[in-house]
């Protein structure tokens, strides 16, 4: 174990190491995992001058309380997050997201909670000292793989940090505002005709609310019950992130990073790639409307979304 590390004084609700995900393992039953919000992940790395696919600490709702041991680092936090730095002399500094800070030996970083988003990201200059498994640093708590023996962090755990001399990093701050748009764009999926005409119409016209059953596997919605007129089961087949499955109770579930690799509920639609970051950040009680788009529109929207992300990434260059 490295002698420079974060000591976890409070674990938070769901604190894990994530990166862009673990590909080429679906056929073994292993989810991609990876960050829920890819844009905020990249922005946090950019703010500390890291490689954009360096591993970060992801937290949900209540975040961790961390104490830095035996080193000095730069860090940044992205998302919609309330946090403060508690200096060694107990002086407290309020933190702002999308800005980099210096954290010194024995300082504490108190990530109190997220506000209007579910997940936030902490990146540190140089990254964490952890090992890849199947080409990814991501912790997958279902298959129990990745750093920390595939478990979310608990009080007393240590997160080793790479032994780097603190490089001079220029102060950086991004003017980034989360979109509050609640329209989620969807491409119709393979079982769309399993649902009644009335259900198809209401799916694209009625509002759905996010239930409390939302985690890294998926988001369960509530709203106008979606009536199935063919069969509430299909022969199990592969799933992708963003797939909207409708089980027998008629309430849709959107698949996120840790979703099971196969599933047997009919698929009504798939969220377009450009809206996946936003879907993952939905908090219980918030509402969404689905809008149908074509494949071509989805590809164009993705291109625009990527360009927008790159614009933020290049803002400080």
């Amino acid at each position: 174990m490295s002698n420079i590390y974060f000591e976890i004084l409070r674990s938070g609700i769901n604190t894990t190491i994530q990166d862009s995900g673990r590909n080429h393992m679906f056929h073994e039953g292993i989810a991609v995992s990876g960050v829920i919000d890819h844009r905020n992940y990249k922005l946090s790395n950019k703010l500390v001058n890291n490689n954009l696919n360096e591993a970060v600490l992801e937290f949900a709702y209540q975040g961790p309380l961390l104490k830095l041991k035996n080193c000095k680092i730069n860090f940044s936090i992205t998302g919609d997050v309330i946090f403060k730095i508690i200096k060694k002399n107990l002086k407290v500094q309020e933190g702002r997201c999308y800005k980099n800070y210096i954290l010194e030996e024995d300082d504490q970083l108190d990530i109190i909670s997220t506000k209007n988003t579910a997940y936030g990201y902490l990146s540190i200059s140089g990254g964490f000292k952890i090992e890849k498994l199947w080409d990814s640093y991501s912790i997958n708590t279902k298959a129990k793989i990745g750093p920390n023996n595939g478990k979310k962090y608990s009080i007393g755990d240590k997160i080793p940090i790479k032994n780097l001399n603190l490089q001079k990093i220029k102060r950086m701050e991004l003017k980034y505002f989360e979109s509050s748009d609640n329209v989620i764009r969807v491409i119709k999926a393979t079982n769309f005709d399993y649902f009644s005409k009335e259900a198809q119409n209401s799916f694209f016209s009625q509002e759905f609310s996010v239930s409390k059953l939302a985690d890294r596997m998926g988001v369960r919605l509530k709203g106008h019950v979606i009536e199935n007129v063919v069969s509430t089961n299909i022969k199990s087949e592969g799933l992708v992130r963003g797939t909207i499955q409708v089980p027998a109770d008629g309430n849709p579930i959107i698949m996120l990073s840790d979703h099971g690799t196969i599933g047997g509920y009919p698929k009504i639609g798939v969220v377009i790639s450009a809206d996946l970051d936003r879907v993952g950040q939905l908090t219980p009680g918030s509402t969404v409307n689905f809008k149908e788009v074509s494949l071509e529109e989805a590809q164009n929207i993705f291109k625009a979304y990527t360009e927008e992300t790159n614009k933020y990434l290049n803002e400080n260059n």
């Binding site: 056929h27 039953g29 199990s236």
Partner: protein, 228 residues
């Protein structure tokens, strides 16, 4: 071979091999899977991030930054698939302990099938099965086909926790719970064998699509002293 190709969202290709579920159709899915896996490994194609074979479908996920639906669809349509017979030779024998404490659904099966449990087990252990797919949770194999006489629906209310190692049956299929997990299959026993091993980097799942599997019964003593 592929009956229909469509898009699943904007970052996956959905290959449909037809509505039936049987070994012949599934072998075709696996042939495509093997062929594409090889091309990916040899870096002959770019942008594919995952392949998910199932009973009668193959889903090809890709990175929309690197490629798109049309490119991957064209690629799949132009593949010439040659069957590699050697690949489908793998046979695995799996020990199962069927003491009452592991056979969580003996009573249910007895009532539903109207066959006594010794007979259910005799039928189950007398057949060789074929692995259609691996998934849902890491390493979980979906095996078939069970004898008609022991086909049974899944539980009306799934269990919140099925113990790790449980061997379950439902409809014409059998599976093994590689991790403690929620689930609704009828549990007839438990295997001490490691069916998923993350330390085995090349082949973490013991049972892969196309593998032949037979089960054999072991005693509680053998179960408790199992050494791999």
């Amino acid at each position: 071979m592929i009956k229909n190709i469509s898009n699943l969202g904007d970052a996956a290709v959905y290959c449909d091999f037809g509505p039936e579920v049987n070994e012949t159709i599934n072998s075709k899915v696996i042939d495509y899977f093997d062929h594409l896996s090889k091309l990916i490994k040899e870096e002959k194609i770019q942008g594919i991030t995952n392949l998910t074979p199932s009973y009668n479908k193959l889903i090809v996920s890709f990175d929309l930054n690197l490629t798109n639906y049309k490119e991957i669809k064209d690629l799949i349509e132009n593949l010439i698939i040659k069957r590699d017979i050697r690949k489908n030779n793998k046979k695995i024998e799996i020990p199962v302990c069927c003491e009452k404490e592991f056979g969580l659904d003996f009573e249910r099966l007895n009532t539903k099938l109207n066959i006594n449990i010794d007979e259910v087990l005799k039928i189950f252990f007398s057949k060789e099965y074929f692995c259609y797919m691996t998934g849902f949770i890491a390493g979980m194999p979906f095996l078939g086909d069970l004898d008609e006489k022991i086909k049974c629906d899944r539980l009306e209310t799934p269990r919140v926790k099925v113990p790790k190692g449980s061997v379950g049956i439902t409809e014409q299929f059998a599976n093994i719970y590689t991790f403690e997990s929620p689930g609704g299959w009828n549990i007839i026993g438990n295997t001490p064998l490691k069916v998923f091993d993350e330390k085995n980097l090349e082949k973490p799942s013991l049972v892969n699509p196309g593998t032949k599997v037979s089960f054999y019964q072991i005693s509680k003593d053998e179960y408790l002293n199992w050494n791999e």
